[in-house]
């Protein structure tokens, strides 16, 4: 059994094409149902986000299955296969695992380290598992990917720190005020940046947003767009006093919020914290205002510096995250390889046991004179001999670490001992036709995901 991944992502396909092959349009369940009819694949998980459409499968013949999947991708979305062909990527076995692990860790995301993707991977798996479209390979693969995602998030700083100016402002506000619900926000000016930050704050359920502008009309316009209230410019001092967060973005050439003005407001506020975000150029807030007790003044350059620092920190964490991915891929690959040897080991042992029993039966007459104890001893000794003989070959098989060696060993053993190794193959094919069978799924995935 092999792991096969076929998909398109923001790295391989333009957004127009990604939209065309987005499984979310017709629903992932429909895609899973359609995939169930394909004989070439046994298990399937469909991962569909705005940046990627990927199908993870388990199959016996990756080459044939990949062709089949590519056809499916084109047919299902009604896209010309030729147009799609240059953009999809396909990965097999440990490379497919490495890809999923990197995706789950947020390493393959547009904004590296973003946390949503792990949830999307979990959803994609749950969707398939619910419909019994996953089996041992994908169960273990996806559970391992959750582990990778969790480890990267908790053990590296990859997802830490805001990487956009407006988000940096929001996270600073959270560090000052804790919960932003119940806070009053004042916006001075009606620029685009002010609007963007206000929208971010609005999403944090602040209690009230007030917009003040030189002309009431433009204040009302912005207030209407973000769901706030407009106030007259001359009511600025009262509004300042009532606000916890102030975003300034006026086109004024002189500072609007001078130090004495802020100081007066702080006095009335009884030194409750005030967060001033000055995104205007030239500045709207006099620099000295930032020295006042409980006033936190950040201008656009300060916020950019934070963003740059966070980006640099994320980059420094990349290597650690990749290390975690490598370690988990190695573990999964090891498991996958050892699975390759298992049927041969089982068949070999069965063959030896069969020979032992046959010989004991043949010699039954000659052993008839022995006491039951002595007979038991003979049975035990022959068993031990077989075990001893099998010990080294079994170990060697399980330790073989590249698939070609395993295949070569297995072929040799099959041939030399005329093993009935077709057993497992037949089982695999039967499963493809009938969907997931009891035998394959009886192995509880959870215990294997967290050995």
């Amino acid at each position: 059994m092999h792991l096969l991944l076929l998909g398109v992502s923001h790295r391989t396909a333009p957004v127009e094409l990604r939209e065309q092959v987005d499984f979310a349009r017709q629903g992932v369940p429909a895609a899973l149902a359609a995939l169930a009819d394909r004989a070439s694949i046994d298990e399937a998980v469909v991962l569909s986000t705005c940046n990627r459409s990927e199908i993870y499968t388990a199959c016996n013949d990756p080459l044939a299955a990949a062709e089949d999947l590519a056809r499916f991708m084109a047919d299902h979305h009604g896209v010309d296969p030729a147009a799609l062909a240059p953009h999809y990527f396909r990965l097999v076995d440990h490379e497919a695992a490495a890809h999923l692990f990197r995706v789950a860790a947020g390493l393959d995301s547009l904004v590296v380290g973003e946390p949503q993707i792990l949830g999307q991977v979990k959803e994609a798996y749950a969707e398939a598992a619910e419909r019994k479209r996953t089996g041992p390979l994908l169960n273990r693969l996806f559970h391992a990917s959750f582990t990778v995602g969790k480890r990267v998030r908790s053990q590296t700083g990859l997802g830490e720190g805001a990487v956009s100016v407006s988000y940096a402002a929001v996270s600073l506000a959270k560090k000052i005020f804790g919960d932003l619900a119940g806070l009053h926000v004042l916006i001075l000016g009606a620029g685009e940046m002010a609007k963007l930050t206000a929208v971010h704050l609005k999403a944090q359920a602040v209690r009230r947003i007030v917009v003040a502008s030189r002309t009431l009309q433009s204040a009302e316009l912005l207030a209407g767009r973000i769901g706030g209230d407009a106030v007259e410019w001359r009511e600025l001092d009262a509004a300042l006093e009532a606000s916890d967060i102030v975003i300034t973005a006026t086109g004024a050439t002189e500072p609007v919020l001078t130090r004495p003005r802020v100081e007066a407001a702080m006095k009335k506020r009884r030194n409750r914290p005030l967060f001033l975000i000055d995104i205007a150029l030239p500045r709207d807030v006099e620099a000295g205002a930032g020295d006042l007790e409980q006033v936190f003044l950040y201008n656009i350059d300060d916020l950019r510096a934070i963003v740059d620092e966070n980006l640099a920190r994320r980059a420094a964490e990349l290597e650690r995250a990749e290390g975690i991915v490598r370690a988990e891929v190695e573990q999964y690959a090891q498991w996958l390889r050892s699975r390759g040897a298992v049927p041969t080991v089982v068949a070999l042992r069965a063959r030896f046991e069969e020979i032992r029993r046959a010989e004991l039966q043949r010699l039954d007459g000659k052993l008839a004179g022995l006491s039951p104890e002595a007979k038991a001893r003979v049975d035990e000794i022959t068993h031990l001999i077989v075990e001893k003989l099998l010990l080294t070959p079994t170990e060697q098989l399980k330790a073989a670490d590249d698939p070609s060696t395993i295949v070569a060993y297995s072929d040799a053993l099959n041939c030399l001992f005329s093993l009935t190794a077709g057993d497992t193959e037949r089982k695999g094919h039967g499963r493809a036709a009938t969907g997931p069978d009891e035998d394959e799924t009886s192995d509880p995935p959870k215990t294997r995901a967290n050995p």
Partner: protein
């Protein structure tokens, strides 16, 4: 027996350190478990002593230190559980370890309590004052972390503490709550002490310690100073509009005075409270 709780506290301190430095959730859970184990061992110890002598074992400064450590451990654990915030552990546990060294190295001798202390008010007085001290210790550590985080945000350098501490608002709220609770218990403890002193004619006692129970005794005097400071903190916050940073500083200074009163004055200078 003291060594057992000391070892638990010390290993909890190490685990809290690892939790804070590496932000490892596993180390954090281990730290909480170790601290809880220390508190359980300590509870058992205090319970055994109580059963042995028939009254709460906090006659003498060393016994009081042990009881204080126990209260602080419990108060911190309660705070951690109720706020789901572990960052303060790295600041609290070293204090537990340092103070618990005192009863571990100089195991208090248990015996009959001096005649002047044979009063039902004894337990209430000592317990409420020590509980107030534990609250002040928490407030102090919270205040210190507030100042650290405040400085980072003001300096626009978001680094180590920014990534590890809860928000300023949360720290401030925890600080004020701890100070308020501590102030209430200190007030109660002091009032009970005064009532007790006025009920009993200590002057007539032949115990020199009882005779020294006046405002002039350094321990009693400094206790009133710390009460005054915490009263001022609460007042300044509500009435004058002092900000959270100044409150945080007052919490830190306040506990400095409390600790001064508790240890050096308690051991070497007081003539009234050296039992």
């Amino acid at each position: 027996m003291y060594i057992l709780s000391l070892l638990f506290y010390a290993s909890a301190a190490v685990a809290y350190g690892a939790n804070f430095a590496r932000r490892s959730e596993r180390a954090g859970r281990l730290a909480t478990a170790l601290l809880a184990a220390g508190a359980v061992a300590h509870t058992f110890l205090i319970g055994m002593e109580r059963m042995q002598i028939g009254y709460m074992p906090f006659v003498g400064t060393t016994s009081a230190v042990s009881f204080f450590v126990w209260l602080l451990a419990l108060a911190y654990l309660y705070t951690e559980m109720s706020t789901n915030e572990r960052a303060m552990g790295v600041f609290i546990t070293p204090l537990l370890v340092l103070l618990q060294l005192i009863p571990t190295l100089d195991v208090p001798v248990l015996g009959a309590r001096p005649a002047v202390l044979r009063s039902p008010l004894f337990t209430v007085h000592v317990a409420s004052v020590l509980f107030a001290y534990a609250s002040f210790a928490l407030a102090c550590m919270i205040g210190v972390t507030y100042v650290l985080l405040f400085k980072e945000i003001k300096a626009k350098h978001l680094g180590f503490f920014y990534a590890r501490l809860p928000s300023l608002q949360v720290l401030d709220r925890m600080n004020m709550r701890a100070v308020t609770i501590g102030w209430a218990f200190l007030t109660a403890g002091v009032v009970i002490g005064v009532v007790w002193a006025s009920q009993t004619n200590f002057r007539a006692s032949d115990d020199p310690r009882a005779q020294a129970m006046t405002m002039m005794d350094p321990k009693i005097f400094v206790a009133f100073v710390s009460w005054g400071l915490y009263s001022f903190q609460l007042f300044a916050r509500r009435a004058i509009g002092w900000g959270a940073r100044r409150s945080a500083w007052l919490s830190a200074i306040g506990f400095g005075i409390v600790l001064l009163n508790f240890l050096p004055i308690g051991y070497f200078l007081t003539k009234s409270h050296n039992f």
